[in-house]
């Protein structure tokens, strides 16, 4: 289980040396290691099927292994991106060595908690990991120690803490329901066991449990109206953190919800979970779209776009069925790729302009064409323009919605249109036009951006067969 061993060690080491000049490279190195381990793991799972570790405390199946790989990958590229970014921050005096040390060790610790949450088989540990993830990211968000970042971190902590508390209560209830069936020992919280006996779980308790779990983890997914921490945290933290928040944390939280959904669906006959998820998903999409149309701060805007897309994914999983689940997983993938890519470019852009206010960022394409085009293409992609992958998943989601829940289609399309208009009208003047800002001391690392966009593009035009089988497997597991 190198997968989360590496980052754990990494965080420990970086906690010591994180302030050195070489720290970013060490950071990258550890992320790389994690990624390689994840790839190995993936290969194993693809070849030998689901596997357990440490007497079934850990458990890998197609569903989580694909998120594991994604997480490791995005973590790696973000680490790559943060090398020059943090150097610039340090030169600009925003980051002092102790803060850098904190940042790096927390970064690794964060990816550790992510992977732990993903791979654990124990719903309790899942909760612990999520809470730990919250704590680490709180530190990451507040790393600048500015008034704004403190406020953001405070809100983030309180809101998510409360939310997570709900989730804990849900877990308790789940445990309570489970132990009636399997008796009270630790095994009663192992997801695999629960999955095996989910049909016998008591409906009323499970219903309550899911309600709490959904609200709890839904807070971390950023579903409206539990989303209020999200834009602040994204806007005020360092950009790499915004990238991982959008790209990873939300995914993992959603993953937790999915695990619970599987159990609950097994226990209940009613489409309760589906309806809940569809309702909140739709609400998030619509509200976020309108929020998008009034943003001034670039990172804040893309944070809202994350809310919108998470809502879309939640809606997709809520609809269920092979196509919708497939689409949801696909959308998770492309969203975290594209969104993190966008945050990379945005990071450079705002570093150049020295502000995150969109009206003061102009003519990127002139200063640094790659950043400009990266942001342009990224936004185009995130807005669901073909030939990028986002369109593929949105297409699938929409056609499923048209077939099964046609009442929802107008809302979805309306909000997609509004979102399109809003984001495009902000991004165009930022990318195009004239400007007077100069280049940065450290050349930005833009390979990640274009790698991400490239993959998204590929997924839009051609989904390799093993990938699609893998998605299908996962979709089936979610209960397609």
């Amino acid at each position: 289980m190198f997968v989360f061993g590496i980052p754990l060690v990494g965080s420990a080491i970086l906690a010591l040396v994180g302030h050195r000049e070489s720290a970013p490279d060490v950071n990258v190195a550890f992320s790389l290691g994690t990624f390689i381990a994840a790839c190995v793991l993936t290969v194993e799972v693809i070849s030998f099927g689901p596997l357990f570790a440490w007497d079934r405390a850990f458990f890998i199946d197609p569903l989580n292994v694909f998120i594991v790989t994604l997480t490791a990958f995005v973590a790696l590229s973000t680490a790559l991106f943060s090398r020059p970014y943090m150097r610039v921050e340090r030169d600009q005096g925003k980051m002092t060595p102790p803060r850098l040390r904190l940042y790096h060790s927390m970064y690794q610790l964060f990816s550790f908690t992510m992977l732990l949450a993903l791979t654990t088989n124990n719903m309790g540990i899942l909760w612990v990991a999520m809470e730990a993830a919250t704590l680490t990211t709180v530190l990451l968000v507040s790393v600048y120690r500015t008034a704004a970042s403190l406020e953001a971190a405070w809100k983030y902590f309180i809101l998510c803490g409360v939310g997570i508390a709900q989730a804990l209560f849900g877990t308790v209830l789940l445990y309570m329901a489970a132990e009636k069936v399997v008796g009270s020992e630790g095994a009663a919280l192992l997801w695999t066991n629960l999955d095996a006996i989910k049909a016998q779980l008591d409906p009323t308790i499970i219903t309550l449990a899911f309600a709490f779990l959904f609200i709890g983890y839904g807070t971390k997914v950023g579903l409206v109206p539990l989303h209020n921490w999200l834009p602040d945290a994204h806007a005020e933290g360092p950009t790499p953190v915004s990238a991982v928040l959008s790209g990873l944390l939300l995914n993992v939280a959603l993953y937790a919800i999915l695990r619970c959904k599987v159990l609950t669906d097994g226990a209940l006959a009613s489409p309760l979970t589906g309806n809940l998820m569809m309702g909140f998903g739709l609400l998030s999409v619509v509200v976020a779209a309108f929020f998008l149309s009034r943003q001034k701060d670039v990172k804040r805007m893309f944070a809202y776009s994350s809310i919108e897309h998470m809502g879309l994914v939640t809606f997709a999983f809520g609809m269920g069925g092979p196509i919708a689940n497939f689409a949801g997983l696909l959308h998770m993938t492309v969203h975290s790729l594209v969104k993190s890519a966008i945050f990379f470019t945005v990071g450079h852009a705002s570093q150049k302009a020295g502000t995150q206010v969109m009206n003061e960022i102009r003519g990127l394409i002139k200063v640094n064409p790659t950043v400009g085009w990266g942001l342009m293409l990224g936004s185009i992609a995130i807005l669901g323009m073909p030939p990028f992958g986002v369109f593929a998943s949105e297409f699938l989601i929409l056609i499923t919605a048209m077939r099964e829940h046609s009442w929802a289609t107008p809302f979805l399309l309306l909000s997609l249109g509004v979102a399109f208009a809003s984001v495009l009208s902000r991004v165009l003047p930022m990318v195009f036009g004239e400007t007077s800002v100069k280049r940065l001391p450290h050349p930005p690392a833009l390979i990640p951006v274009f790698v991400h966009l490239g993959i998204a593009l590929l997924l839009g035009l051609y989904i390799p067969p093993y990938l699609s089988t893998w998605y299908r497997e996962a979709a089936r597991m979610i209960g397609g």
Binding site: G124, A147, D232, R294
Partner: protein
């Protein structure tokens, strides 16, 4: 025997609920912390009883944990914080106390109503207590909403945690050990971070009034 135990547990549950109400109605920060300590103590006791009644050794451990954390460590930390920051008063609440109480009662009713079907199914000796735990949770949630200073908010958060613990203990004889440990760790780290935050907030806004924390919004 178990009858006695369950009565005891119900008693503790009632006490917990009482304390929750008390916390809502309490204005002074110091006494809030005292109440929180009491809550912790009650929780410990309840855990012990349950553990004794059901012969679940690991509950003793968890009771010990609770004692360590919620009766000794955290209150001590909080006391240090408020001494350092010299915030002994939380003058005004956002909603005045009587209204809060009324809403609180409604919440309790709701919680019982929700928990009733569940607790009927529950086979444990502490059947009625789930509703109380839920009620405690909701009450402290409401307390977080109504308080406008940082420390009381944190206290609300913590007592929420207590409610959860009680639920875990009463309804399921506690979570698996590893989970308990994890949760405890999280709570500890959380409270440490919060402490640090309060100092930072203080030095940023030279007050712990979270009305200062309203800059980030949709304008």
């Amino acid at each position: 025997m178990s009858g006695l135990a369950s009565q005891l547990i119900n008693l503790f549950a009632a006490v917990l609920l009482l304390l929750a109400f008390a916390m809502i109605s309490q204005r002074r920060v110091v006494s809030l912390i005292h109440l929180y300590t009491l809550q912790g103590a009650t929780l410990t006791a309840a855990t012990l009883v349950v553990g004794y009644a059901t012969h679940q050794p690991h509950l003793y451990l968890s009771a010990a944990l609770t004692l360590l954390l919620k009766v000794l460590l955290i209150p001590w930390l909080l006391h240090r914080v408020i001494d350092r920051l010299s915030v002994r008063w939380d003058v005004e609440t956002l909603i005045n106390i009587p209204t809060t109480m009324l809403i609180g009662i409604l919440l309790v009713i709701l919680a019982f109503h929700l928990a009733l079907p569940v607790s009927q199914l529950s086979s444990t000796i502490a059947r009625g207590t789930l509703g109380i735990a839920l009620a405690c949770m909701l009450l402290s949630f409401m307390m977080m909403i109504t308080r406008s200073k940082a420390v009381p908010q944190v206290l609300g958060f913590l007592s929420m945690e207590n409610g959860l613990f009680f639920a875990a203990t009463a309804a399921t004889y506690g979570m698996p050990m590893v989970v308990e440990l994890g949760i405890a760790l999280d709570v500890l780290v959380g409270i440490l971070i919060l402490g640090v935050f309060m100092f930072q907030i203080r030095e940023q806004f030279d007050s712990l009034d979270i009305e200062h924390l309203e800059k980030l919004k949709e304008d």
